[in-house]
């Protein structure tokens, strides 16, 4: 077994986004999830945050046309959707690779060598911070505190959480991604 935290086992499996921009935003199973989200709120507009998360799960990022579609679905204006989406760093306003690797570089992780972890991810994937690797698989970014200071360095790959990551176990971690 790997030496990162067992909480990983409880997390959802890494989600590879569907990237067909021509497909309806919320079709099939996503349609059901969308309707379920709406059902939790008194008004459509109140569902904006979870719906944006869902849209990002489907598309990988929030393209202008995705935000426009979300605005239509929730009776909002594009400007309102953009205002919310641009406020939260968790929403990607430009395309990312199939796997978005977010390395925490806040104080605790930094002291435990997050800089080296970040460097290793970049060298292993052959990318610059925020860019997409040539094979389209990876985008590596720095992120703010992931709330796992006791298990530095913390890394988030799509929805999956990894703790106590060291430069040495980066290759194995990447190799394990489907």
């Amino acid at each position: 077994m790997r030496d990162w935290h067992p909480a990983v086992a409880a997390a959802e499996p890494s989600q590879k986004a569907e990237r067909d921009p021509a497909a309806p935003l919320f079709g099939g199973v996503y349609r059901e999830r969308f309707e379920r989200i709406l059902g939790r709120y008194p008004t459509k507009r109140a569902a904006l945050l979870p719906v944006l998360h869902l849209a990002q799960e489907v598309r990988g990022w929030l393209a202008p046309e995705t935000m426009t579609r979300v605005a239509e679905l929730l009776d909002l204006t594009p400007a309102q959707v953009r205002a919310v989406a641009s406020f939260y760093t968790m929403f990607n306003l430009k395309p990312v690779g199939s796997y978005l690797v977010q390395v925490c570089t806040n104080i605790a992780c930094d002291l435990c060598g997050a800089g080296k972890v970040l460097e290793r991810f970049l060298s292993e994937t052959g990318t610059e911070p925020g860019a997409i690797s040539a094979d389209g698989r990876y985008t590596v970014v720095e992120t703010e505190c992931l709330g796992a200071c006791g298990f530095a360095t913390a890394v988030l790959i799509n929805d999956r959480f990894y703790e106590s990551v060291t430069p040495e176990n980066v290759p194995a971690l990447l190799a394990e991604l489907p």
Partner: protein, 955 residues
């Protein structure tokens, strides 16, 4: 402001501000209460027209609590003691100003133009030296100069959100938002695209409310200076029937307008649209006519002079893209003349025609763009001097059918309530009206009501801008209105959702209506309108259950061969539900042009003298004969399209056209071309060389809206004064003086000191205008009728207890569905719909010479559904040729799902692809309005070298 009927009176509270007691309604903010005492509390994020948000904190005051309170959001309370200024408070304000100023750009666009940068004013007040602020500077934020009318400087933005509230909550255009956070937070347009590429409609409200140099008006050729350095002229907007009150700021040294502000009139509450705020510079366009012109002998026999107007496509010169009459091509056919020579010629030729062919061989088109006074003297010239009732104007092409239906059913052609009263309606129906484009400021009131809970029902064949705000939008098949509303009435009767008391006490003819409505179950209407029967029922019920319902309609209702029937149905619907004569109810056909209501009121229609008094009523005739001192013609005159037909048949031989451009505005251009060319004598009086002027014998240079004083009556019946702001160019003369000179030279004395004297004569003959004087029309005009002009605003809601019909009751006039005159078939499979664009107006004579409007919307296009384009193998942006049985035009096509499959939408402003080359001149039998909204066309992909072929003859 219209009185807020039914609003409960608020409890009063008393507090003291700086030791002075003040009593205000509960809920009033400290800032407002202080203002009532004349105490100005400085504030950056607030404007009295906006919802307070309290984000800038400059307005903090001491209310005796632990911390200071923001006066703009904090409500006053009984016994509250407010201190608006103290050393501590001022220190707070100074610090806030320093913080904002620390990253402020060195040059403020607002300070450099209007000179009223509110942040810099605070800096001066607190003696802050920007350079001495010991704070780090940001690395600057960018500018966005992509909009043709508004400059954006993000570095000068203090994120006060005024523009966001102005865009979202005043104009309801919802374009501006915020993006990012922290230092990167900025205002953004739509999805943070450049302003010029966003859905911004350039109303300029954001630049009007911005306190800093972040959003400012760009100059339209005349440098913008502080208000105090320019001459302020309180006037009205020259464009649509909303008649917004405007202050123009005139640079006297250049005889030009630098910029415009909205005024707080009940009709527009300081709001303006792109035309009103940025569309004034046509008046000082170099092509203005400045000398009388007489056609040279070698240019007879008459005909069109330019390749465009001849319809032969590309002339030898090759045509210039876009725009306006090519003066160089047309002017050589005319020579300059003195006023005496031109006027003598006009008078002589009209006298000759009258002597040879009789008075009814003469005719005149006045203009809904001219003032009440000009309309009055023009119809007086036709009736008292020419001796004919052949005088009409573009009301015929706009609401003639609505007026015919209204006169027949409720006895009056004017609106029964003002558009602003939509705030008191719980349901509003907008039928066949592209309100956001054609009456943009009236639309803001409708959008505002819809945002506050009024149910907005929109019925249209095209998904117009107002449909986006609708709670229910019914897209009906073109021309199927009668079937839909009959089905609504079927549902209301069947489900007993009618106002029995109103029907019993105030109407007649209900049984006949019931009989017709019975035959239109929603299931039948579904087959005609293409709207599912269930939806028809659902929306009919919403209308039927309304406590107060208001109905607006536009050309989508009126411009059909069954336009009168369409309007009859809407009127019946209102009567059935008791929706007339109470707050929040009414019938409101939105008038298209600034003075279409007034020109009609002043008698510029062939059947009636001023105030709709019939020319066929001997008693009325006697009254006017007495007033004008001549015998009058008792025969009703010809309407617009009938006059053109008369010209073709040579029964009409001489015409005087004042400020209209029938070549482009009238249906079936190929016929109009022949008609205009066959006139023996044509006088065109205008401010520019129009397409129509190419057919003239004499062209008289007139004054533009901005160069004269007169009254204009808006769609609400509000009579307002338009004040002279500019001096006319060259020898151009006031329109009414030209008319009076022609009268004098034809042997009839028509002399007035000024426009005011004409207005007094009009009010003496038009009972609806009785009592109105120029003095009482200050500052925001008056609604007619106005029983107490000294104190009252005029009557807002008409017919609260009786209708002006012989019985005092309104009459139901049922209508049966009938299809349009020309239906699509295999050869011409598409339905053509014509209309207007936000940025342009009528035949483009003015707006295409306004640089901002031209920059935003420079060229002709048509709009089709993407499915149809795909089917035809045509790409958006391709050139297509549209052909009807009457003509063809070539223009670019845009794809838009707003236009239904099977339909083609063409704006009619563009001479180079004139929609009216295609339209059908068949008339509604009652209103005599042509079917401009429906004819059959064919769509073909145009070959590259066909691109310059325009408005050619039938194929």
């Amino acid at each position: 402001m219209a009185s807020a009927v039914g609003a409960p009176a608020r409890r009063l509270v008393t507090c003291s501000i700086d030791g002075r007691p003040v009593t205000v309604p509960e809920g009033t903010t400290i800032w407002e209460a202080a203002r009532q005492l004349g105490i100005e509390i400085p504030v950056l994020c607030h404007d009295p027209r906006l919802r307070p948000v309290g984000v800038c904190r400059v307005c903090v005051v001491d209310v005796g609590e632990r911390v200071l309170a923001a006066a703009c959001v904090r409500g006053v309370a009984d016994g509250m003691k407010v201190t608006t200024t103290s050393e501590g408070i001022e220190r707070c304000r100074k610090t806030l100003t320093e913080l904002l100023l620390s990253d402020y750009p060195r040059e403020s666009r607002r300070e450099a133009t209007l000179g009223d940068d509110e942040l810099l004013a605070l800096a001066r007040r607190y003696g802050i030296d920007r350079e001495a602020i010991p704070l780090p500077r940001g690395d600057g934020r960018r500018e966005d100069l992509s909009s043709p009318v508004i400059a954006v400087d993000h570095a000068a933005c203090i994120l006060c959100d005024r523009c966001i509230r102005a865009c979202d909550e005043v104009q309801h255009n919802d374009v501006i938002g915020r993006t990012g956070k922290g230092y990167g937070a900025r205002i953004a347009f739509d999805l943070d695209v450049p302003m010029g590429e966003s859905t911004c409609v350039s109303c300029g409200e954001c630049a009007a409310v911005c306190p800093t140099g972040a959003l400012t008006h760009k100059s339209l050729g005349v440098a913008i200076h502080p208000r105090a350095e320019l001459r302020a002229v309180d006037s009205v907007c020259p464009y649509c029937g909303v008649g917004c009150a405007v202050t123009y700021y005139v640079d006297l040294s250049k005889n030009a307008i630098a910029f415009a502000d909205g005024r707080p009139s009940p009709g527009n509450d300081s709001r303006l649209c792109v035309k009103g705020r940025y569309g004034f510079d046509y008046a000082f366009h170099p092509q203005r006519l400045a000398k009388p012109l007489i056609r040279r002998g070698e240019y007879y026999p008459k005909g069109p002079l330019s390749g465009d107007v001849r319809g032969e496509g590309r002339g030898a010169r090759g045509r210039k893209p876009g725009g306006v009459v090519d003066s160089e091509e047309v002017l050589p056919a005319f020579r300059e003349a003195s006023w005496d020579e031109a006027l003598d010629l006009v008078a002589r030729r009209f006298l000759e025609i009258r002597a040879t062919h009789g008075p009814d061989a003469l005719a005149g088109f006045g203009s809904a763009k001219c003032s009440n006074e000009e309309a009055y003297v023009f119809q007086k010239l036709l009736r008292a001097v020419f001796g004919t009732n052949n005088g009409d104007h573009c009301t015929r092409l706009c609401h003639a059918s609505s007026v015919a239906a209204l006169l027949e059913t409720i006895g009056s052609g004017a609106v029964t309530n003002v558009y602003g009263d939509v705030r008191n309606a719980d349901v509003v129906l907008v039928a066949g009206s592209n309100t956001t484009d054609n009456h943009p400021v009236a639309a803001t009131f409708i959008k505002d009501a819809a945002a506050r809970g009024t149910k907005l029902l929109v019925v249209d064949s095209r998904e117009t801008g107002i449909a986006r705000h609708a709670h229910h939008f019914l897209r009906i098949a073109p021309g199927s209105d009668v079937a839909l509303y009959n089905a609504w009435m079927h549902v209301l009767i069947e489900e007993d959702l009618i106002d029995h008391e109103f029907v019993r006490e105030r109407t007649e003819g209900f049984d006949a209506l019931k009989e017709v409505a019975r035959r239109y179950p929603p299931e039948l209407a579904e087959g005609i309108c293409g709207v599912p029967a269930g939806r028809i029922r659902e929306v009919a019920r919403i209308f039927g259950r309304a406590r107060a319902a208001l109905i607006f309609w536009g050309m989508g209702i009126s411009q059909h061969t069954h336009g009168t029937d369409n309007a009859r149905c809407l009127i019946s619907l209102a009567l059935l539900s008791g929706s007339v004569g109470r707050p929040g109810t009414g019938l409101h056909p939105l008038r298209g042009q600034n003075n279409v209501q007034g020109a009609s009121d002043a008698g510029l229609i062939p059947m009636v003298y001023p105030d709709y008094q019939s020319v066929e009523d001997p008693a009325v005739q006697r009254q006017f004969e007495e007033a004008w001192g001549v015998a009058l013609n008792p025969k009703r005159g010809l309407t617009v399209v009938e006059i053109m037909e008369g010209a073709l048949r040579k029964t009409v031989r001489g015409m005087y056209i004042l400020g209209e451009n029938p070549f482009l505005s009238d249906p079936n251009i190929n016929k109009v071309r022949k008609a205009l060319a066959s006139l023996d004598f044509l006088v065109v009086q205008d401010i520019f060389l129009t397409e129509t002027a190419e057919f003239a014998d004499v062209i008289l240079p007139a004054t533009s809206f901005f160069e004269k004083t007169g009254t204009y009556t808006n769609t609400d019946r509000r009579v307002q004064i338009g004040r002279q702001a500019l001096e006319p160019p060259g020898d151009a003369r006031l329109d009414w003086t030209i008319v009076c000179e022609i009268a004098r030279r034809m042997g009839y004395r028509m002399e007035y000191r000024d426009a005011e004297e004409i207005f007094d004569e009009l009010t003496s003959l038009a009972p609806s205008y009785a009592g109105l004087t120029y003095r009482s029309l200050e500052p925001y005009g008056k609604l007619w009728p106005c029983p107490d002009p000294e104190t009252g605003d005029g009557i807002q809601i008409l017919f609260d207890d009786a209708f002006p019909t012989p019985s005092g009751r309104a009459k139901f006039v049922p209508a049966e569905y009938q299809p349009a005159a020309e239906l699509p078939d295999d050869e011409y499979p598409f339905v053509l719909n014509t209309g207007r664009l936000l940025e342009h107006w009528h035949t483009g004579t003015m707006t295409r010479r306004a640089r901002a409007l031209h920059a935003i919307q420079p060229s002709a296009f048509c709009e089709m559904n993407p499915e149809d384009l795909e089917h035809l193998g045509i790409e958006p942006g391709d050139l297509v040729t549209l052909r009807s049985r009457r003509g063809s035009i070539t223009l670019r096509v845009q794809a838009s799902p707003r236009t239904a499959p099977g339909a083609v939408f063409v704006p009619f402003h563009f001479r180079e692809a004139a929609a009216n080359a295609l339209t059908n001149d068949r008339l509604d039998p009652y209103g005599k309005i042509p079917e401009l909204k429906f004819c059959a066309v064919r769509v073909e992909k145009a070959l590259a070298d066909e691109r310059l072929e325009h408005a050619s003859g039938p194929s």
